[in-house]
């Protein structure tokens, strides 16, 4: 072992760690495909307003339900709007809302889960039963209730989605904490007299962080599907904003002869979900490999 030099044991900074994880993820085909799809969608969300060939809300009755052509690549919908324009812009709202929604879910779910795992006892029992109770309510019904009471603005959707998708994270974070909590280094910190907050921050979070992040990435894709379902039901974003869920809902009645207006948003939505799922899988694998002891030399 004495052959290793001092510099090999320099503490890696966070940017270096992130780039290392990204490289590991991209080195497997599935991870590379997932990352590429995700990056493509994120770039599209940022750039689509500049790339769109037409105005997304321009209605032209004379162009109703045109089949795909060199002029309108994905055809037009029942109001004569360009499907290509609406499809490339349709992920913007969904991505934004679900991204921040996942962050909120991660934060409250993760912290509550860690806290419950650490303190245990009665507090843990009570909190977990409440979480169980919420898990038994069909989330879509509860969401519909919230949305119809408070409206469909972003300020309502993000915290509401964040809340409903954080419940599952509580369980994951709690289980991950239980794995760590029995280890002697926690006992040691307790015996030294560290407080709960210090133990959570210094001892638990570094050890459960990876598991929770991976869970959060998976939740992101579920939340995207959930949000699109809401839009599909008419409780997401309101027209004429382009959104995949809304587009599918509007075009589905005419699906038998104007299939292009449905297929384009479906491809958009499912490719993004597949991209996130593949990325999350690769992310988990990359972190796992990072942790196991590598073979010497």
């Amino acid at each position: 072992m004495a052959t290793k030099t001092v510099s090999e044991f320099k503490k890696k900074n966070i940017y270096f760690k992130i780039s290392e994880v990204l490289v590991t993820m991209a080195s497997k085909p599935s991870g590379f495909i997932g990352l590429s799809i995700l990056v493509f969608h994120i770039l599209l969300a940022f750039l689509s307003p500049y790339l769109a060939p037409y105005d997304f809300k321009a209605i032209d009755p004379s162009l109703m339900l045109q089949a795909p052509s060199s002029e309108y690549w994905f055809g037009t919908d029942s109001l004569g709007r360009d499907v290509f324009t609406r499809t490339i812009m349709g992920g913007r709202i969904a991505l934004t809302i679900t991204f921040f929604g996942s962050l909120i879910a991660l934060l409250w779910g993760g912290l509550l889960g860690i806290f419950c795992g650490l303190v245990g006892g009665k507090i843990d029992d009570v909190v977990m039963r409440i979480v169980d109770a919420f898990l038994s309510i069909p989330w879509i019904l509860a969401m519909l209730l919230i949305v119809s009471l408070l409206g469909t603005s972003t300020e309502v959707l993000i915290p509401a989605l964040g809340f409903f998708y954080g419940k599952g994270i509580v369980r994951v974070a709690r289980a991950a904490t239980h794995d760590v909590i029995a280890k002697d280094f926690i006992v040691s910190a307790r015996a030294r007299g560290h407080g709960n907050l210090s133990i959570i921050w210094n001892e638990i979070i570094p050890n459960v962080r990876d598991a929770i992040l991976v869970e959060g990435a998976m939740r992101w894709s579920w939340m995207l599907l959930g949000f699109s379902s809401l839009s599909f039901l008419g409780f997401g974003v309101s027209p004429p904003t382009p959104d995949w869920g809304l587009m599918i809902s509007n075009a589905r009645g005419l699906m038998s002869f104007a299939y292009w207006a449905v297929i384009a948003p479906i491809v958009g939505l499912s490719s993004l979900i597949i991209g996130i799922n593949l990325t999350a899988d690769a992310f988990a694998k990359a972190l796992g490999i990072d942790r196991s002891t590598k073979a010497p030399v």
Partner: protein, 677 residues
Amino acid sequence: MEKIIQKVKNLSVGFKSQKGKEISILKNITTNIKKGETVGIVGESGSGKSTLALAMMGYVKQGLFTMGGECIFNSSNLLAMGNRELEKVRGRKIAMIPQNAGQSLTPNLKIGYQIDEALKLHTNLNKNERDKKISELLNKVRLPSPETIALRYPHELSGGQQQRVAVGMALAGNPDLLLLDEPTTGLDVTTQAHVLELLNFIAKDTGTSMVYVSHDLGAIAQVSDRIIVMYSGEIVLEGPARDILKQPIHPYTYGLLKSIPKLSLAGLPDSMPGSQPQPGAKTKGCSFYDRCNLAEDKCKKNSPNLEYVSELKTSVRCFNYKKLIEQKSEKQSNIKRNEKNIKINEILNLTDVSISYAKQKLLDQIFNKITDSNPTVKDINIDINKGETIALVGESGSGKSTILKSIAGLLRTKEGNIKFDQDRILSNDLKKRSSGDLRAIQLIFQNPDESLNPNHTVEEILAQPLKLYFGLSGEELKNNIIGLLEKVRLGKFYLARYPRQLSGGEKQRVAVARAFAAKPDVILCDEVTSALDVSVQAAVLNLLQQLKEDFGTTYIFVSHDLAVVRAISDRVAVLYQGRLCEIGPSKNVYKFPSHPYTEVLLGAVLEPDPDIKPKLVAEDIVEDKPPEKGCCFQGRCPRFLGDKCKNETPPWQIGDNGNAIRCHINIKDLEKKQNGN
């Protein structure tokens, strides 16, 4: 010439590193196993001993591959066989007994059914014959009432009984060769001695050849006819057990034997510097070069061959073995511990301490009634002097770790109190203890893999107590951390390493440094050396002793290993089922084991000397619960008196030599009886 049943020829096993380099774990192993002999393979962790044993049954772990050589059994090479052919050999001709029988038995199948499965597979007996055979096998491994044992599930048996069942299952196919991979590691001392005795009996009775793999030279010494010492994937010494143990002519084996603490010798054992090279790290020269005190220039350049020394019938891989033969009659000189006169200045007083794991019922909680009349730990009275090392000794379940935890404040005591520095009663509740009291008592744990946060660097680990207790930061903090590392003989280049980048011994040193960072008065050591290799263990013990002399720290040392306790402690307290049996200065406890339990424990210790056989005085029954009344040891006592022991709690008696025992038999009579044996 005796019949050879397994022939290992030029065997090399290795793996491919991420860079595509082939790295060998076993290098050119050649050895023969003769019919009816027991061969002990000994080495530290990572020496390749288990890989070799597995290769002997034609198994190479996933990720490894055979680089060359063969294992010939019944004139066919096991390593070249297909799975179908191997099935006919494994279990029937060669059987394996794994380390942890509890994990290798299927938890939801009855013992009898599991043995029946083995019999169905390996024999052609019919149902009735198999039933008879099951009883026969269980009888052979000396399990009480085989018929009822056969109907039990694995978890209903104790560790020793599970191991016996595993032995019975391995014997089901009447194998010619038994491979045992650390079969007694993890068992209690008395159980271990019994299992080894059983294995010896079976070896003689059935004439089965055995390959016994262990890191424990004490266990190897009891069973083996021949010993193979492995180091870094090579055989460094091979020969008759007696010669190797009495006169090890390889410097590694010599150092290894010297680093084992022994019951007969007070003081700390010598330690060997350094650690085993990582596989693939070394390409040239002798693999032991870095740690060898006989090393010369040629050892660095050329690797020695295994050379046969005919006068000792031993093969050795060393250029300078003759030097070791010359200095043969050198008496073992252990490092003397500084047994200064300890000032009678008590630092911790445990008075009538009882601890219970039973949950109180709600009503009893309200009325503050104590319900558990039979708590896990009861009536512990120990006064601990400043600067002494007191050891708590006992088998698993004796409550020794429980007592440590309650001193640290991690477990509430039920009755009694713990006084610190003669005047302050330490609070039962960790949160109510003052920062000073918390600082004064520090813990070191058994397994450094668990006690160090894997996501913290050494610097972060050591910074925690310094920040918490002394509020250090910046340059001062860093200097202090470096100072601590130097105290435990690690340099400052360890600062940025993660625990996974350290060896076992280095990790435990970091854990020791963390405890000393708080400048504590008392350090609680919970089995601190039992997860370490012998040579590393000796080094850690020496370090602890050195630090104690430098800082005047008091140690409370918990261990199941009586020889280690002998080496480090000033006073010993022997515990059984959470009750004190005997307490006294260690030299006296070890000289006149007065309490029957101490006698049993000491009798079962395995020494790396073929002439010292363990004395098995008591049955190795495992009791789950201390008896409600009477003496705690009544169930297993070899000197059981009858009703008196059953009903009356024995009184304390103090012997002439200063040790106190709790027994109904007069201490003088006990001593006479024990000397008479």
